[in-house]
């Protein structure tokens, strides 16, 4: 029997008048690989960003290992307060890879990967270096350790970002459109790295437009539209045999120009 790592209950997010997430409920089991798909503005990135509190949820709860995060605000049970220390601890356990990589340009590749280990995990420099080297080797960048991110291709930068997230040994990895800002010929090298992580049985959530990748490597696919889960199922169910008209319309736009 698997235990739920992450449980989201009635998650809502508003940006002013814009109601982006309108009540999301789901749970993540260990080893699950969930692909979140949907049109632009559907709320898929916002959902992912709420899970490690890059965005603060407007209401609803997030449980990590059965513990509900934050504490309710007195007088307003819907609203929760999230102390910075708790969020830092959560982010250590829920790693994130961004669309724009967000590497630190003033640090070398190796220093980028070591940073979290030294400042957050308080590792000794030497130990952090070994750890970082191991992760960089894994993503095939052992020969670039002394380069600055600005000298790398987009694909290489994203692989460094993945190594940086992995080095923190997160229990869950969030990928926010990791290949969307890459030139088409660089997408493959990043997806191969993510696939290798899938093969290791890592728990991950992936917001993506790479439907082929989602089909082959996700254990579950979620189609998000207008801030709610429109359709959830196995890749085969959602991507090959969608029940909802809206899902079919979305998928057909991807196949429009295929041959």
């Amino acid at each position: 029997m698997s235990e739920t790592i992450l449980r989201v209950t009635n998650l809502q997010k508003r940006f002013g008048d814009l109601h982006v997430l309108r009540g999301i409920d789901f749970a993540v089991e260990p080893g699950e690989r969930i692909a979140i798909i949907g049109g632009s503005g559907s709320g898929k990135s916002t959902l992912l960003r709420c899970l490690n509190f890059m965005e603060s949820p407007t209401s609803g709860t997030i449980e990590l290992d059965g513990k509900t995060l934050g504490r309710p605000v007195r007088g307003n049970p819907d609203d929760r307060l999230y102390p910075e220390g708790e969020l830092c601890a959560v982010r250590e356990r829920v790693g994130m890879v961004f669309q724009q990589f967000n590497l630190f340009p003033h640090m070398t590749v190796l220093e980028n990967v070591m940073e979290g280990l030294v400042t957050v995990k308080k590792m000794k420099k030497q130990e952090a270096r070994e750890c970082a080297l191991k992760e960089l080797q894994k993503v095939g960048l052992a020969d670039k350790v002394d380069a600055y991110p600005g000298r790398l291709s987009g694909g290489q930068q994203q692989r460094v970002a993945i190594a940086r997230a992995l080095a923190m040994m997160p229990e869950i990895l969030l990928f926010d459109e990791p290949t969307s800002s890459l030139d088409p010929e660089l997408v493959g090298e990043v997806l191969r790295v993510i696939r290798a992580l899938a093969d290791e049985g890592r728990t991950m959530l992936l917001v993506t437009h790479e439907l082929g990748f989602a089909y082959h490597y996700a254990t579950k696919v979620i189609f998000l539209a207008d801030g709610v889960f429109h359709e959830v199922g196995t890749p085969d169910e959602v991507l090959k045999h969608p029940k909802q008209e809206r899902t079919r319309a979305f998928l057909s736009r991807f196949t429009e120009f295929s041959f």
Partner: protein, 221 residues
Amino acid sequence: MNYHFDFALILQSLPVLLRGLLVTIQLWVPSIAAGLALGLLLALCRLSKTPFIRVPSLLYIELFRDTPVLIQLIWFFYAFPIIVGVQLSPFIAALLGLSLNTSAYSAEIFRGGIQSIAAGQWEGAKALGMRPTAVLRRVILPQVFKRMLPAFTNRAIEVAKMSSLASVLSVHELMYQGRLLSSTYYRPLEILTTVALIYFLMIYPGSYLSMKLERRMASNS
């Protein structure tokens, strides 16, 4: 023009002028250091979401930027003691005025620098579990320093030149000594040219180094 340039007088005045230079440096370096440290603090206050913190720092910055430095120095010497009841030495009054003035300007440089760093840098660091102070110290500020080095250098040069205003408070710095000597010997051409040259020699190496450093850092990224 058959002016006889008196080089001997320059040599003779040099020890006094160099003593003045020492005082100028004693005004310059500490007021830059204090101004930068206080400026960073002010910039963080200025960026705070809490109005109680943000508004006073904004007022402070504007007050010092929108009044002449000369009045600030004179005010600290003549007016400030009336409020606090303690007479400041001319040197301390000048140091205080220059430091606070520098802090207001460097606060704006820091603020501009911090705001110019892409939000993704904060996010990338926060996503690793780094606390805001660590993000600032390890990720944001090093980039701000680098990006703002030309602006900080300009400020440092300005302060070096502004320090000559301390002469009106009779601080025995370079300008004061120069004016004293030139009126003693009635030889403004020799003395004041030498004073200007000393200022140049004091400031230029810093400006040159900063240019070099800027270039080296640019080639790293």
